[in-house]
Amino acid sequence: MAVTAPATPVHAGSPHDERPLWRRPNLLRAALMFLVGSAFAYVLVGFLRSVNHYPNAWHDWNAVLTVGLLAAPMFFLVGLGAFDYWFYWAAGKPTRPEDHSGHGAYSWRDYFRVNTDHKVIGIQYTVHSFVFLLIGGMFAMLMRAELAQPGMQFVSPNAFNGLFSVHASLLIFLFIIPVFAGLANFVLPLMIGAPDMAFPRLNALSFWLLPIAGVMMLGSFLAPGGSFSTGWTAYAPLSTTAPIGQTFFTVGVQFAGASSIATALNFLVTIITMRAPGMSFFRMPLLVWANFSTSLLVVIATPFIAASQFFVLLDRGLQFNFFNAGKGGDVLMYQHVFWFYSHPAVYIMMLPGFGIISEVLAVKARKPIFGYRMMAFSLLAIVVLGFTVWAHHMFVSGMQAWIRVPMMITTAIIAVPTGIKIFSWLATLWRGVLRLDTPMLFALGFITMFTLGGISGVMLAMIPFTIHVSDTYFIVAHIHYVLFGGSLFTIFAGVYHWFPKMTGRMFDDGLGKLHFWTTFIGFNLTFGPMHLIGIQGMPRRVADYADQFAGWNLAISIASFVLGLSTLVFVYNMVVSWRGGPRAPANPWRALTLEWQVSSPPPVFNFDAVPTVVGGPYEYGVPGAVHGVFREPKVPATTGAPTVAQPH
């Protein structure tokens, strides 16, 4: 699993670090600093309240908690060592320009500290995200248990509202968005022939912001009054008047968002400045194009959700009354600002998947991607159009009526670049030599399911239809066809595809196929019928429903448990293969892109020699074509212990 090295360099947290344990950057110091941060919040709030002669100055736990949620994680990060190097630099201490002390993984412990190696960070991200997939999925199954029959059986209405709110928040902010960042973190620098990301320390900080957001959202269940229960959309004024659990979402999103923005900046700079010689923009693999487009979306859009949640925080904590209609607040404003991020966010959750599918299909069909340039341009078209459609979430919100029509048109037009991508993938399949292994099955499953999600998306652009089905199970069905059948299928395809590269082991293809078929069938049986009950009149986000929907809901609940259990096949396959699967060769799929030209797993600094790119990334079927060449020293093409680059 970990890259082992005969000569371990002195790295942070290693036994060669002479400082006492509690002063070294590690989880212990982080825990101590977390306590310091909590105390800081308590004293700050108490002091400010007492100098202002507030009643009950030292016992307002809601205020302490609000400030603590902001302050304690920052102290935690300092304790963890995420800022150590920058502190040296800011203090004018001698810094080490070629400091690789935090780089690479030499034992499992190195995955639990601030690590600057993009491959370690990629694995941290991916494994961390899948933990939250399992938790979020479990919440979904609890909801389905409650919904199996009309009436209330297992949970209270408040707990149910909490379940679907945390379910969506975790799967959006702690699974789909970061897992794509994780896969790209591992693969993208290798693909463009770079030794690492442009800003490795920022990269490490980006990752460590995420567990904070995740623990915070989960921790909201322990808050007095229960977890946040206003949906992942947290519409004001419901969210500004909700119990303290809401603050866990409001603040948690800030940490997840900051992580997203920092990573996107990192990707942009890496892609623009660190490509190998010869890799022009139109020789970049489409995964790189996809992450380039996604990062543009993230840096432009994510500040808007940060703003929307800061408004809510100020309303909650300091009575700013941004969204209090009785005090001149504007309720609809929240939705405009929120969706100005959250609609582009659905493309943030989809474009990296498009990239993965392009990589998998070209390799598995043994053909060049059909219409490569149109594939790249359609990504950029989606980026631009993605910013012009947000108000289609607000067709029944009571906003100014005329906005609906232009938003309907732009929404429908996005189907054109998306259609170009689907048709180009189909043409790539045509006359290829298809390897129908697990990654390919997930890729094909993705195309069919995402087409359905896209079709229901065009239907939802049509205002008169949306007026009827908005806020119903039709929306639940649509979003799961897009994010589960779409995004999650591409994530599975990508994880299987790069599993040999990431771990140096092969997965069990038989179990992989079992995983695909159980997921594919369970998925359709779960979410297909939701279209129907939505149109028939079942609203979303309800713990109880009219008796007429009882039959379908029971069927959906049963199917959802099949779907949930299918994930266990995946987890088993991953764990067992990682521990004891057959050793993976450097290039098991005979792919052309650069990440497959180094050993599996790759050396600590990726390339012993900088590769030179001499052609396109998908020249399958062209006799003798290569994408990149290595001048000496030659990179070992065999398996076994990878070459260890010296830290200098």
């Binding site: 043409a427 290829g432 069919t448 049509m462 609203p539």
Partner: protein, 339 residues
């Protein structure tokens, strides 16, 4: 392959159109929206069938056979004509659908002309609060005096303009049978209009998450004949149970009030056959309480909040929406069935 696509599309469209998707069409607007949906099905099915067909054909005919392990496909990089076609055709399809949808939108939101409408359009105020709907009929309809009720009665064939407001948080006033909904937003008035056309009782559903009792915020709209509507209006002017009525009459009136006001949406009460858990179980909590307490709990629900429940959940305006006689009847009924 083309033949397969055509046949499969035809079968798919037939299947799609034969499914009973919608609840009964209760308004003139509903018919137009249902037709739009049929058109969307007809346009969508061939697209999906085409994608599926290409994948299934590729899997069958182009899958790797034994001995092909090292073979590649032909290095086809693209085809400009094909790419232009699959950009232009979907764009044209979408342009058509958008135009049609726009026409439908204009149609369903249009104010009926005097010639079309047998009677003048009626403005009904809809007021959403956690977790109940109340409706206010205007003076000209109610015969000189505006009145507020928790029952929504509408005559067929007469256009209604719902003027929608919210008190606390955002709600959404949705009648699936009418196919129309609109958010009730604090601070602004929203609206939509509808012409009911089919007799019957249909659900009213809150479609925007509004808190704890969101799932229970359901009610009914009764679409009746114009004659029956006039009768109902006249009945509203009369008290629920005349003063000095016998206890049995009071209890019967109270039971009806309990059902009509949606109390059972939140409270369990065995006599009324309700089992909701949003609010306290009335069979238990009212067992030892007197009439004054019951009256106070209806009129000022936050004066005493049962342990384990939160203040601010129950609508505080029943004191206004219920007349004095109605309140008496409801209190008498609750006292009788819980003690």
């Amino acid at each position: 392959m083309l033949g397969t696509v055509v046949i499969a599309s035809a079968v798919g469209i037939a299947l799609g159109l034969s499914i009973h998707w919608f609840p009964p069409a209760g308004s003139t607007q509903a018919d137009k929206i249902d037709t739009l949906y049929d058109v969307l099905i007809i346009a969508s099915v061939p697209v999906f069938v085409l994608v599926m067909a290409v994948i299934v054909f590729s899997v069958i005919f182009f899958r790797m056979r034994p001995g092909q392990e090292l073979e590649d496909g032909p290095p086809i990089h693209g085809n400009t004509r094909l790419e232009v076609v699959w950009t232009a055709l979907p764009a044209a399809l979408i342009a058509g659908l958008c135009t049609y949808a726009y026409v439908v939108l204009r149609d369903i939101e249009k104010k009926p002309t005097a010639a079309q409408a047998a009677t003048r359009e009626m403005k009904v105020k809809v007021f959403g609060e956690q977790f109940a709907w109340t409706f206010t009929y205007p003076k000209d309809v109610a015969g000189g005096k505006e009145f507020t009720t928790t029952d929504l009665y509408l005559p067929t064939g007469r256009s209604v303009d719902f003027r929608i407001r919210a008190k606390d948080v955002i709600h959404d006033f949705w009648v699936p049978a009418f196919r129309l909904k609109m958010d009730a937003v604090p601070g602004i008035e929203t609206h939509y209009r509808v012409t009911p056309k089919r007799l019957g009782t249909y659900p009213i559903v809150c479609a925007e998450l509004c808190g704890l009792g969101h799932g229970a915020m359901r009610s009914s709209v009764h679409v009746v004949t114009p004659a029956r509507f006039r009768q109902w209006l006249q009945a509203q002017a009369k008290p629920a149970a005349p003063a000095g009525a016998s206890p049995a009459q009071q209890a019967a009136a109270g039971k009806k009030l309990f059902a009509d006001n949606g109390c059972g949406g939140c409270h369990a009460l065995s006599d009324a056959g309700t089992s909701a858990q949003v609010g306290p179980d009335l069979d238990k909590v009212l067992k030892t309480k007197d009439e004054a307490f019951i009256r106070q709990s209806i009129v000022k629900p936050d004066a005493f909040v049962e342990k384990g429940y939160k203040p601010g959940i129950m609508p505080p305006n029943f004191g206004q929406t219920l007349s004095k006689d109605e309140l008496d009847a409801l209190v008498a009924y609750l006292k009788e069935v819980t003690s």
